[in-house]
Structures are given as C-alpha cells and as structure tokens.
C-alpha cells in the first residue's frame, strides 16, 4: 500500500482574510494529481465549510489532509468550545455564528449539512470545552 500524500495547514481563528487557504491548497493538490473535477469540487466545498467553521467558532485549528489513490481524508481539528448538540447543528439553517460572521456572508447554518452533502463519509468528534474534530472522506470514483 502506497503511503498517502499528507498536507498540513494551520487555520487561524477570526482570520477571514486568509480563510479558505487550506481548502484552496488542497484543491490545487488534487487537481495536480489528476483527480476528477467532480470529486475535487466536492472535497473542496466540504473542506472549505469545515475550515470556515473552525475560523468562526473555534479560534482556528489545524487541517490534515491524507490523499490516497482513490480517496481523500480531511481532518479539521480545533480546540474550540465543542458542539453541544450535534444533531441540532446538522440541521440546515441552524447557526450559532456571531453577527460579524453573518454580516460577511458566513454562518448561514449551511456548514455541517453542506459538508455531509458533499462527502462520502463524515464524522464529528466533539467535547464541550475541549474541541471538535471533523473527519471528511471523499471518494474519487462514484
């Protein structure tokens, strides 16, 4: 089994200027690797949403990306407040984003549902006061 390509990024909290760098870097890598445009798009959208969540809610965190020959695993790790009720947070339109984020067009409550929509597998590990890890899997062939 060939080792996956591993990419790592720092995500800075409340930094809306550079938000999205991790997902855009990952997208570039997937394009270079010849992954199908549809899969690249799904991975990029799912990762972008998770990355923005870490920027808005958790004062940043890290992104780890493992690219295999047929799928990619994206992990967004933060040490933020945690999600009290995951099933509630998975509902479209539900949001706890601060006003400033909403004014910038973020935090419409589409984040987690959108990640789920664009990924083949998604899991959330969260602990109140400790942080949240969102793990996203996107397969390259449908």
């Amino acid at each position: 089994m060939i080792e996956p390509v591993k990419l790592e990024y720092k995500i800075r909290g409340s930094d809306f200027i550079n938000a999205g760098e991790a997902s855009s870097g990952t997208k570039k890598a997937l394009n270079r690797l010849g992954v199908s445009p549809a899969a690249v798009k799904r991975a990029a959208i799912a990762m972008y949403e998770a990355e923005i969540n870490a920027v808005i809610h958790a004062d940043g965190g890290e992104a780890e990306v493992f690219i295999y020959s047929d799928h990619v695993i994206i992990r967004i790790i933060d040490q933020g407040p945690g999600i009290p009720d995951v099933s509630l947070a998975m509902q479209e339109g539900w949001s706890t984003a601060p006003d400033i984020a909403r004014e910038m067009g973020f935090g419409a409550g589409m984040g987690l549902p959108n990640i789920k929509k664009h990924s083949d597998d998604m899991s959330i590990e969260t602990e109140i006061g400790k942080g949240t890890t969102v793990t996203i899997t996107v397969r390259f062939q449908v």
Binding site: V5, R32, G34, V35, Y48
Partner: protein
C-alpha cells in the same frame, strides 16, 4: 494539427527576464537558455505576457490583410471594442464605412451577434436555474473558457453553452451573403477584427462546435492605421448610407467594455469581473459555493473588458469613456429609428454541440500512484528550496521549479542559491583535499632540512 494558442515569442527581442513568467496566470512560461518558452498546452492566450513584456518580445500570430486575397467576397466583422479606438468626431456608421473602405465587400457589427447571445442567455436562465447550473458563466471570452478547462474543470457545465457573438455574426453574414450573391460558401471570406489573440485561437480551435464560420482574425492594431486614414477622407454620402443600415442597439454595442454583457440580461443577480487574475479569484469563490446569490457571471480576461485587449490601440480608460459615448449614441439612435434597429433573430443562436473538455495540462502524471509519488517529491523539493520565488531559475516561483524538477524538465542547481551552496561545498572539499594532498606530498620541515644536507 491546429495550433493551440496564438501568442508567440520573438527570440531576438527576448532578454530572458522574469516579467512574463511572473505574470502568467497558468504558469505556462519558463525561461530556458536565456529565452522565454511558452508551454503550448498551458497557454490560454490571455495576452498578459504581451502586455507586460518591456522588450515587446511577445506578439500574437494573427492574419493580415493578405489573407483576404483568396476570396471573391470578403466581410469584416467589427468587434464592439473597435469603435472605442476612435474618438470624436467618429461615429459608429463612420467607423463601419471606413472599415469597409480598407478593402472589404461588406461589414457586420458583432454587436448584432451579441444581442442574439444576450437574448439566448435570457431564455436559457430558467433552465440553468432548474438544472442547478448557476451561476451561469459567460463563454464569450475564450481565455476565460480556457482557464476554466485548465484550472476549474468542475465549472465547465456552468458556461453559457452557445457560440460567441463573433460566430453568430459570422453565421448571419454568410447566410446573407449567400442569399445576395451567387457565390459558393468557400468563395466568401469572413474576417473578425479582434482586440485579442484568444479570439484567433477560438477560430483555429473552435470552442463548443467543431466548425467555425470565421475564415480569419485580424488584430485591431493591424487595421487601425488604415481605418484612421479612411476616416480622414470620408465621403459624407457614404456615412448617410451607413446611418440608414440596420444597426445594433445599445445592448450589443455595450459588450465592448466590462459590464456590457450583464447589462442586457434580465436579472439583477449578476457579478462582473475583469482581469484574468481577478477572474481566477471569482472562479475559486464559485467553486467553493460562496456566490450562492449570483445567477450570472460576466468574466473578461482583460481589465476593462475587450477594450483592454492586448491588440487594441487606445488607452483602456480613454476607450471606456468613448465606449460610453457610443452607447449613448446607440440609445439615441434606437429612440429615433425604431425600425432600423436590429431585432435579434432567435434561430441564429448556435448551441454548442460538444462541451469543452477538461484540460489536464496541470496533472503531474496520468497514473495517480505515480502522481502521488511525484507530488510527495515535489513537496520535499519545494521545502528544500530557498522560497524566495526570485524567478532566476526561469520558473515563476520555487514551487514551479520543484514541479519542473519532478517532471524532469529542470535540475536543482538551476536554482542559483542551490548552485552557490554546491559551489561553496565543492570549494570547501577542494581546500580540504588540497590540505590532505600537501600533507602527503610535502616532506616535513625537518626531513626537508635533512634532505638538503
């Protein structure tokens, strides 16, 4: 095989500087052996390198007026941006008459095709809405279509799937000419007067359809002096004659500058972006689904739209001011001459028969396992390079050099800092060896003295 791009390098003028490699949006240029080389498969013909080269070493391979010779009947298609090259007292009928006088048998306004495409796009919007192809992205700028094929292939389905105003106008012109003359289609030559090289490539390699109706593409800059000369000796009767012809309305004329295409659409939810680097930023936003409220994107590779094209003559800002005047005049003309304004004919819209394909020029290897390996290597090399992105190696930045090394097109010592490091270490080794050598060959002091006695 038809050439994939129309931007060319003049080797004699190229001094091998870093201006073009830095500006190219697809990293298609490398300086090798002191000269810039354009990677055919990556060039999107945006013309940024033509604009930025201080030595004018980049040019576009375009047709000349000689290309008219084989045809019995020739028609010029005037891009809306052509008008904006000429200031007062020139009017649209005057520019069209002057263009005719330089040696064509007829002239057509591409603004007419633009109106057809505007109408088609309006009609297509509801379908795009229901098939989740929003935002629609204008396909009129070939450089934008090509950058999507290369960097954002996931957005190909968002393109407006119709031929450009140039093709639509050419189709109309050929139809009319066939009806009016007894000539065969191949005896009629149709020439687009273009602000950019990308339009020529769109003729040598048509987008969305295998066949083009255009027989040649001439740069605005090529015909500019002739038109100017004809404008100076304009016959007033001829101008009157042109004023009585069917003219395009303001919607079509407006396409010459950024914002003109969106202006004619029946949606307020549009976004206008110009300049290829800005276009790329917006495409990134679309791909991240960050533009959910937008239904239409007008994207122009050149700043200011077509009036900012690399093969235009007038300064873009003065052209913009003139464009506004031509639009105002068109509005007045429309109000006064309702029956001599062109009414878009729906049946001339030319839907694409084959969607543009993804261009995988950026892919490291067709085999994903090899690509992964190369990517890993590339990351390592990038990490190892100084990260100054100086361009002295001939690649636009350190990451691009790392890519070239992995592709086997460059070596690490192409980096002058790496080369210096190597020279330094070789020099250190040399002096070490010299010391060793002296120690072994030179006799010790005492022995030497002993030897002399």
């Amino acid at each position: 095989m038809a050439k994939l791009h129309s931007v060319r390098l003049n080797e004699d003028k190229c001094v091998g500087c870093t201006n073009c490699i830095k500006k190219c949006p697809t990293e298609a240029i490398r300086v090798r052996d002191g000269k810039a080389r354009i990677a055919e498969e990556r060039c999107i013909d945006c013309g940024e390198c033509i604009k930025v080269c201080p030595h004018h070493a980049k040019s576009a391979e375009m047709d000349t007026l000689d290309a008219l010779k084989p045809y019995r009947y020739t028609i010029a298609l005037a891009a809306p941006s052509l008008y904006a090259q000429f200031g007062t007292p020139a009017t649209r009928p005057m520019v069209l008459a002057a263009l005719l006088n330089i040696g064509f048998d007829d002239v057509y306004e591409v603004a007419i095709g633009a109106e057809v495409v505007t109408k088609g796009t309006c009609d297509y919007l509801p379908l795009a809405r229901s098939s989740s192809r929003l935002p629609l992205i204008s396909s009129a700028c070939p450089a934008v279509v090509r950058v999507i094929q290369e960097k954002y292939p996931g957005l190909i389905d968002n393109l407006v799937p119709f031929d450009s105003p140039m093709e639509v106008t050419a189709e109309l012109a050929r139809r009319d000419a066939l009806a009016r003359t007894n000539l065969k289609p191949q005896e009629i030559g149709i020439f687009f007067i273009s602000p950019c090289p990308a339009k020529r490539t769109a003729v040598t390699n048509p987008i969305g359809n295998r066949l083009t109706q255009v027989d040649g593409v001439l740069a605005i800059a090529e015909v500019y002096p002739q038109i100017l000369a004809k404008l100076e000796k304009m016959n007033p009767d001829q101008v009157v004659e042109f004023e009585q012809r069917i003219l395009a309305d303001a919607t079509g004329v407006g396409w010459g500058a950024s914002g003109g295409e969106a202006m004619g659409l029946q949606t307020e939810k549009y976004l206008v972006v110009d300049g290829i680097h800005n276009v790329i930023d917006i495409l990134e936003e679309i791909e991240n689904e960050r533009l959910r409220d937008i239904e239409f994107i007008e994207a122009n590779s050149c700043m200011g739209g077509c009036i900012g094209g690399p093969l235009t003559v007038a300064n873009r800002f003065s052209a913009k001011s003139r464009m506004n005047r031509y639009i105002q005049e068109a509005l007045v003309f429309e109000a006064e001459h309702q029956d001599s304004v062109y009414k878009p004919d729906r049946d001339v819209i030319r839907p694409w028969t084959e969607m543009p394909q993804a261009n995988n020029a950026l892919t490291l290897d067709p085999d994903i396992f090899k690509a992964l390996e190369k990517y890993e290597q590339m990351e390592k090399i990038t990490h190892h390079l100084p990260g100054l992105d100086c361009g002295a190696c001939g690649a636009p930045d350190c990451a691009a050099l790392a890519e070239d090394i992995v592709r086997g097109l460059a070596v690490e010592s192409d980096c002058i800092f790496k080369l210096k490091e190597r020279i330094r270490s070789v020099a250190a080794q040399m002096s070490e060896l010299e010391f060793e050598m002296n120690r072994h060959t030179k006799p010790a002091e005492g022995e030497q003295e002993h030897g002399h006695t």
